[in-house]
Symmetry: C2
Subunit: 436 residues, 2 copies
C-alpha cells in the first residue's frame, strides 16, 4: 500500500497523529482545535516552560479558553514536548514558528530552517508537512524542500508531501477564530493537496484550495500588505490634515457613509504586532531577486517607521503650548499593547515613543492593565503604574497610545492636566486635549 | 425678515428654485432628482447643444432613464438654459462643473472660477451656493469665497451662504445612484448648514453633515485616494507576480475568503475616468503649500502612469512568443471604455496603449459596443469595428482591455489567434491566452 493510501486510511479511521511545531499564538490555538476535534495532537516547542504549562493544563494564550485547554490535556488529546524525536510519531507536521525580521529588517529564516532540519532528521516516511508561518513566496518550494530532502534522504511526492497554509489568527477577534476563519492552502502536488485537505478539514470549517504553495504564500502577504499600505496612507493624510486644520477622524467618519468602494482605516502612532509591520518586507526582500522595486510597500514602510517620531513631535508641541519642555516633564503613557484589549506589546509604537521621550530627558511612566511590565528597545524597564487621580494629575501630559476599552476616558479627562490623544478616544475636545 | 428666514420659508412652502450649474454626468442626474422631488430646477450649461437636448426631453446620460427626463421636462419642473443671468431667479445654486488636470497634471480651476464669477454677477441676495465638484481642501473658503464676494459686493453669512457637498456619482452603479447615496456636506456657517440641509433633503435620502467645507473636501479626496492607492498597489503586485509565476487573480480570489480586514481590488491596464486618476493630485497640489510630500499618492501615481507602458510590453512579449513583432501586426482592442458597461472613454488606458502600439508600427483597430468612435491622445481617429469571427481571426493579437459584460469570451477565444487578457476575462487559460 502506498504512503498516500496509508495516511488517508488513518485519517478516515481517526487514527492520525498531528504534530504542531511552535506553540505560540498561532500554534497553540491550532493544536487545541485539532484536539477538540478528537485528533491526537503532539505540540512541539523549544521552551520547557511553555511545554510544562500546557501539560499542566495552564493556558497562556488569551484567545483560548482555559477550560478548553484543560479539557484536551486531561483527555490526553494534546501533549506538549520539547523532544523533537517524537516527530516520528506524527502523520502530519504543521509548522507555526516565528518569522521575524532581523535588526536590518531582513527576513530571519532561522526558525523555519531549524524546523525543517528537525523534521528532516526525525519524520517517518509518509508524513504531510505544512508551513503556517508568514513568509515570502517561493519559501516552501525553494527554501524548505531542499533542506527537508537533504536531511531526510526522502523524496518529495513519494515519501512526504509539502504544503503551505497561512495562519489568519487575529488576536482579540471574538467573531473569527482559528476554526471558523476560512483557510487557504496550496500544496506542491495534487496528492499533497488531497491529503492536506483531509488533515485540515477536521479542525477548520472552510478550506480554500489554491494551485501552489507560492500562491498561498502571496495571499497572506497581500492581506497584510493591504493593511500596511492603507494604515500608512491614512497616517500620512492625518499628518497633512493636522497642518491644514482638518480633523481626520471626522473625515473618516464621513467617508464611511459611502456605501461602496471604501473601507475605513484609522491613523495611530504607528503599526505594531507581528504581522503588518513585518510581512510586506518579506515580499520586498524576495522582489529584489526579481529586480523588482515595490514602491508602494517602500513608501508605506517609510511612513510607518517615522510615525513614532512624528508622535514625539506632537507631544513636544503640546507641552510647548503650555510653556513646558519634554526635558524634565512627567509623561504618562496609557497603553503599550499594539492594539486594544490584548496583552502583546511586540513592535508596539508606544515603546518607541517612550524611548525617544526618555532620551530627550522626559520622565516616563506607563499604565497598561494587560501588560504589567515592559522592556523597551533601548533596554529601559518599566512597571505599569496604577491609574489613579493622583498619577493622572502628576503627569504634565497623559498620552493615549492604546484604546483599551477598559479605559474610562471621562475619568482620565477629569484628572489629567493635558492629554495627547493618538487614538481618538476623547470624543468631546476641549482646550487641554491635543489629537492626532 | 432676514434672508435666512426668507429662504427657509420658501423651501418649507415648496417655492424655492434650484439652479444646477453644469449639466454633465453629475449635474444632470442631480437636476432631475430635484425636479422629480417637485422642486423647480433651472439647469445651466455653456453648451447650447446640451441645453437644447434637455429642453426637447432628449437624454444623454446613461444613468438617467429617458422617460424620467422627459417627464420632468414636460412638467416644466426642469428647464435648461445657457443664459446665466437667470441665476438671479435661483434660491440655491449647485455647482457641478469639471475640475480636470491640465497637461502638467496641475488642477485646472478655471471652470470653478468662471462659475463663481457668473454667480457673483447674477445671483440675488439670499442665495445658497454649494460646490459639488471634487477639488482640494480649502477651495470653498480660500478660492471661491473671495471671488464671489468681490464680484457680487455681497457679504457671506449675511447675504449668501457657501457650502461644499461632494458628488459621489458612480457611473453604471445600478444599486447606488444620486438619491440613495448618502451625501456629505460642510458649510462655512451654521446658518449655511441649516439652509443646505433643507435644500438637499428634498432630493437626497441621507445627508451627513460635517463641521466645515474643508472637511467635506477632504472626504471626497480620501475616498478616491483610497481607490487610487489600492488599485496601484495591486497593479504593482500583479507585475511582480507575473515575474514570479504567480497568478495574481487566483491570489485575490483566495485573499477574499478572509472575512475581516480585506477589500479586494483588481489589476488592470491602468486607471481611467474622471475621478480616481485626478482627485489625489488635487491633494498633492495643495499639500505643497503646506511643505508636505504625499509619498503614497506619489508612488501610486507613478505606477498608474506606467501601467499602459507595461501593458504594451506585455503585448509585445506575447507577439514575440509567436515570432511576431508589433511593427506590422494587426492588433484588435476590445473595449475602450474606462470601466465595464459604460460609454465613457475619458482617461481610458486603452487609448494610451493603442497610441503606443500605433507609434511602434502596429495596425490598430478596436471594438466597443458602447463607444462607436474615439480620438486618441495622439489625435488618431478610430471607428469601432464589428466583432465577428473574421475581425477576430484577422488580428494577430486580440487585447481584452475592458470587461464589458456583453462580450462573449468563449466566442472570442474560439476565433482569436492569440489573446492578451488584461481583465481576467478568460477563465480557462490555454496556450494562446496571456494574462496580466
Amino acid at each position: 500500500m502506498s504512503y498516500k493510501q496509508q495516511i488517508l486510511d488513518k485519517i478516515a479511521a481517526g487514527q492520525e497523529v498531528v504534530g504542531v511545531i511552535g506553540l505560540g499564538y498561532v500554534g497553540l490555538p491550532l493544536a487545541v482545535n485539532f484536539a477538540q476535534a478528537g485528533v491526537e495532537v503532539i505540540g512541539f516547542d523549544k521552551s520547557q516552560a511553555k511545554v510544562d504549562k500546557i501539560n499542566h493544563g495552564e493556558n497562556y494564550i488569551k484567545d483560548i479558553r482555559d477550560a478548553v485547554l484543560r479539557e484536551v490535556v486531561d483527555q490526553v488529546k494534546l501533549q506538549a514536548t520539547t523532544d523533537i524525536s517524537r516527530m516520528s510519531e506524527c502523520d502530519a507536521l504543521l509548522i507555526c514558528v516565528p518569522t521575524p525580521l532581523d535588526i536590518f529588517k531582513k527576513p530571519d529564516m532561522s526558525y523555519i530552517e531549524s524546523a525543517c532540519i528537525d523534521i528532516g532528521k526525525y519524520m517517518k516516511p509518509g508524513t504531510f508537512i505544512s508551513l503556517e508561518s508568514t513568509t515570502y513566496p517561493t519559501t516552501t518550494e525553494d527554501f524548505m524542500l531542499p533542506i527537508i530532502e537533504r536531511e531526510s534522504g526522502l523524496k518529495h511526492g513519494e515519501d512526504f508531501w509539502l504544503a503551505y497554509s497561512p495562519e489568519r489568527v487575529d488576536p482579540g477577534n471574538a467573531t473569527f477564530y482559528t476554526k471558523n476563519t476560512p483557510k487557504v492552502m496550496g500544496a506542491m502536488t495534487p496528492d499533497g493537496l488531497e491529503i492536506g485537505q483531509q488533515i485540515y478539514s477536521k479542525a477548520i470549517d472552510h478550506l480554500h484550495l489554491v494551485s501552489s504553495p507560492r500562491v498561498a504564500e502571496m495571499v497572506k502577504i497581500l492581506e497584510n500588505t493591504y493593511r500596511l499600505v492603507n494604515i500608512s496612507l491614512i497616517n500620512e493624510l492625518a499628518l497633512l490634515a493636522g497642518k491644514m486644520d482638518i480633523n481626520i477622524w471626522e473625515v473618516i467618519e464621513a467617508a464611511k457613509t459611502k456605501p461602496f468602494g471604501f473601507q475605513a482605516f484609522y491613523p495611530g502612532p504607528g503599526i505594531g504586532g507581528h504581522c503588518i509591520p513585518l510581512d510586506p518586507f518579506y515580499l520586498e526582500h524576495i522582489a529584489k531577486k526579481y529586480n523588482f522595486d515595490l514602491s508602494m510597500i517602500h513608501a508605506a514602510g517609510h511612513i510607518n517607521m517615522r510615525m513614532p517620531h512624528y508622535m514625539y513631535i506632537k507631544i513636544a508641541a503640546a507641552l510647548n503650548r503650555h510653556k513646558k519642555a519634554v526635558n524634565g516633564s512627567n509623561l504618562l503613557f496609557l497603553g503599550v499593547a499594539y492594539k486594544p484589549n490584548i496583552d502583546d506589546e511586540r513592535e508596539s509604537p508606544a515603546l518607541e515613543i517612550m524611548d525617544t521621550v526618555a532620551h530627550k530627558g522626559g520622565i516616563v511612566s506607563y499604565n497598561d492593565p494587560h501588560i504589567p511590565h515592559v522592556t523597551t528597545h533601548h533596554g529601559h524597564k518599566y512597571q505599569s503604574v496604577p491609574l489613579t487621580a493622583k498619577t493622572l494629575k502628576e503627569a504634565d501630559v497623559v498620552v493615549l497610545t492604546t484604546n483599551h476599552s477598559i479605559y474610562d476616558v471621562e475619568y482620565i479627562q477629569q484628572h489629567a492636566q493635558m492629554i495627547v490623544d493618538l487614538r481618538n478616544m476623547v470624543k468631546e475636545g476641549g482646550e487641554k486635549v491635543y489629537k492626532l
